[in-house]
């Protein structure tokens, strides 16, 4: 993975000093809350429901063992012993103290980490394929381009005050594992007519209140021009994106208002100034960055089949072990989705243990997936049984990757001040309903994505089953959609926004609703047909009818009269966490 040179280190150190000064001025009353807010957000610090939340950047999902141990230390020393992995491959701590935040950033800088631009209206963490560099279906390794874009976007002076947040993803494989079509800029690495690398460029995708599948504005952009072209897109957006309404400020609204062609023309007009300029990536710079992603010293092994073993191992191997381009190696997904734990949560002890596993069963590197799991990228096939034993002992071997219980969820209303709804207890209720492993494996790949509010941090729009928490007059309700697709193989390679099945439900009904959706699928599916394919084939109606025949959304008045409880409180949840 990328290691800092003197420049990288100096800039991060200077950023820590700047933030420490800003925090000091705020605490001394020389910066108002309104003035401090955008400054702290650009250093990952939110003020949340119970305590500040610090979101730490994990550039395109890559972590070293040393970084994991530092995160474990931060969880122990400054938080309550756990962190939360996000759908943007970052990690959040939900209980830090404002006064400690500069010290935390200084500690992170020691291991080449930071929280720069993990929030605020600026370019956020670049996301990518968690199997980059090891996937058999890879066309071009996206990681050097991710790093080049990371550096370009870090403190870009022109684009620090955009109309709204800005998210970029790069995918370099045949399968889209980065949900490229749902980003402000989505980049597919492709080969040109002479085999040279380049990008198919999409703009204006996104989730949120107005979900949109991105549009192609360039079929082929030569790789050297990546930074110059992205700069032109950002410039057109910065000048013309709406600033009068936060809900219409994303680039997708501008692209829609201008039309894709007119938007592309404006970008190309600006690009004439930069196309041959200093932002062109040089051979030397590409080689320097690429060298950081050179393959580790793999052993020369025969491509052996997976070893046999007890049923538990075989089940785990079937779901959590993924192919690798090097013979004799596999990638292993460590599940952070056991029932009863918030999806994506990881304790300090687990962080330390994953660091140990990464060194014992690999080359000291770990990946964060946007599905909120961790990946050991380079495990020898003959060591899989030993790894399984150790992962199992630390609660990281739930054999459910890609299955219904591998739920994507934002932290929700237990933590986030934006959320209307409590996504975490909901996830747990669904997981408890589907506790039969054989049945789960029979159901196959089903993505359930839960967002606590319209900001869609839980990516509900692209869930095969999507669940969205909404607030109606102070009550929590849940909208359910089906048929969302994020472009991955599990979604049949399709990109689609899920469609709502009908009126929303009370929290305690949602697990029933999911069960009815699954019953419908089981009744209608063809042999080996995935849930998402059945939805595609038969449409919404059979699912909708079966759900509403059995589960009636309560009238609001009844609900109020019944005094429906909102569920487990955050204080109770914290307590549970401290016990686990």
């Amino acid at each position: 993975m990328y290691r800092y040179d003197a420049l990288d280190r100096r800039l991060v150190d200077q950023r820590v000093a700047e933030y420490r000064d800003q925090l000091g001025r705020f605490l001394a009353g020389r910066l108002s809350e309104d003035e401090f807010r955008p400054l702290r957000l650009r250093n990952g610090l939110y003020i949340q429901r119970h305590a500040p939340m610090l979101r730490i950047a994990v550039p395109y999902g890559l972590l070293s063992a040393a970084q994991l141990r530092k995160l474990a230390h931060i969880a122990r020393r400054y938080d309550r012993g756990y962190g939360h992995l996000t759908t943007r491959q970052n990690i959040q701590f939900n209980w830090v103290k404002l006064e400690d935040t500069a010290d935390i950033l200084a500690e992170l800088a020691q291991v080449e980490m930071h929280a720069i631009q993990t929030s605020g209206n600026c370019v956020r963490n670049i996301t990518s394929d968690e199997f980059a560099g090891i996937a058999p279906d890879e066309i071009i390794d996206p990681r050097p381009f991710c790093e080049l874009l990371r550096q370009w976007s870090t403190f870009h002076p022109e684009f620090n005050w955009l109309p709204r947040k800005f998210k970029i993803a790069i995918n370099g494989a045949r399968e889209d594992r980065a949900a490229v079509a749902f980003h402000d800029i989505g980049l597919h690495l492709v080969r040109g007519v002479n085999g040279e690398p380049g990008f198919r460029v999409l703009v204006g995708g996104g989730m949120g209140r107005t979900p949109v599948v991105g549009s192609v504005i360039r079929e082929f952009l030569p790789w050297r021009q990546l930074l110059a072209y992205v700069e032109s897109i950002l410039r057109v957006y910065n000048l013309h994106g709406r600033r009068d309404n936060i809900y219409k400020a994303r680039i997708k609204i501008l692209v829609r208002a201008l039309g894709v062609e007119a938007f592309a023309q404006q970008v190309e007009a600006d690009f004439t100034h930069g196309a041959d300029g200093p932002a062109l990536i040089t051979d030397e710079e590409f080689a320097r960055v690429q060298a950081h992603f050179a393959p580790p010293p793999y052993a020369a092994l025969d491509d052996v089949p997976l070893p046999g073993g007890e049923p538990g191992f075989l089940r785990w191997a079937a779901r959590n072990v993924k192919p690798h381009r090097v013979p004799g190696y596999r990638a292993v997904v460590l599940s952070l989705k056991p029932t009863g734990v918030a999806p994506g949560d990881i304790t300090d002890r687990q962080l330390d243990l994953v660091a140990d596993l990464a060194e014992r069963f690999g080359f000291g590197e770990v990946r964060v997936s946007h599905e909120q799991n961790l990946i050991l990228p380079d495990v020898r096939v003959d060591q899989l049984p030993a790894l399984w034993q150790q992962a199992k002992a630390t609660g990281l071997a739930t054999p459910n990757i890609g299955l219904l219980t591998d739920i994507i969820a934002c932290p929700g209303g237990d933590f986030c001040s934006l959320a209307n709804a409590k996504s975490i207890p909901l996830a747990e209720a669904i997981q408890r309903r589907f506790d039969d492993l054989d049945y789960l494996h029979d159901l196959g790949e089903i993505n359930i994505n839960i967002s606590g509010c319209m900001n869609s941090c839980g990516h509900h729009h692209v869930g095969h089953i999507g669940i969205l928490g909404v607030d109606k007059d102070g009550d929590e309700w849940y909208q359910v959609s089906i048929g969302g697709a994020d472009g991955s193989a599990a979604a049949g390679g399709r990109n689609a926004i899920g469609r709502m099945i009908g009126p929303s439900f009370a929290q305690e009904q949602v697990a029933d609703v999911v069960a009815r959706l699954i019953d419908t699928y089981v009744a209608l599916r063809h042999a080996d047909e995935r849930f998402i394919d059945t939805v595609e084939r038969v449409g919404l109606v059979p699912f909708k009818e079966n759900v509403y025949r059995h589960v009636q959304p309560p009238q609001r008045a009844q609900r109020e009269a019944a005094g429906v409880n909102a569920g487990v409180s955050a204080e109770q949840r914290k307590h549970q966490h401290e016990l686990t």
Binding site: R3, P278, E285
Partner: protein, 189 residues
């Protein structure tokens, strides 16, 4: 276009900080004219004996070369800069770009465009100019800053010096880091 009320709270500031960290007195009164909206009114009433900052439409209507400076607001049409202003840039004594709110970042791109058109004179940030914006303003091409009156001098000077390098090309450093000599791996702190 944004509501014109974003222009109102601005007071003319005579004390400015230069990009080199020098505080100096350089008053330029702002001359709001009706010409901002339709380009037709009030223009011949502007008194050339008292140099002032004029909105874009009023500025373009002045006989050139003008003694007046140009006052750009974030919603000024960037296309007009290239088509109508480019020919006058050599004679403009001062261009001031207004920041009605810290969060309104259009001024950074306007500064980039003005510099890209070849403007070499003083480019001033006015309005909600706070110390924590100075470094990036300097990078995109601003050469002086009319800071909001409550900002501390020491904080401003520290902010200008906060970073001693950057990754990207910008006006203050026309080459990105990777075109300025070899970046050496492993040089430690």
């Amino acid at each position: 276009m944004n509501a014109p009320d974003t222009l109102l709270p601005l007071l003319p500031t005579s004390r400015v900080l230069t990009r080199d960290g020098v505080f100096t007195d350089d008053p330029w009164p702002l001359r709001a004219t009706d010409a901002r909206s339709d380009g037709s009114d009030s223009i011949d009433r502007i008194d050339d004996s008292e140099p002032a900052l004029l909105p874009l439409a009023a500025y373009l209507a002045q006989p050139q070369p003008a003694v007046h400076g140009l006052w750009l607001a974030p919603d000024d049409d960037p296309a007009l800069l290239a088509t109508q202003l480019a020919g006058h840039l050599a004679s403009v004594p001062l261009i001031a770009i207004q920041f009605p709110r810290v969060a309104d970042g259009r001024g950074y791109s306007l500064a980039h465009l003005v510099r890209r058109l070849g403007y070499a004179g003083d480019l001033r940030a006015i309005g909600e100019v706070l110390v924590d914006q100075l470094f990036m303003m300097k990078r995109v091409g601003f050469s002086s800053f009319a800071l909001r009156a409550d900002q501390h001098d020491d904080d401003a000077l520290a902010a200008l010096r906060r970073y001693d390098d950057a990754y990207q090309a910008a006006f203050d450093q026309p080459l990105p880091a990777y075109r300025r000599g070899r970046r050496v791996q492993g040089a430690s702190r």
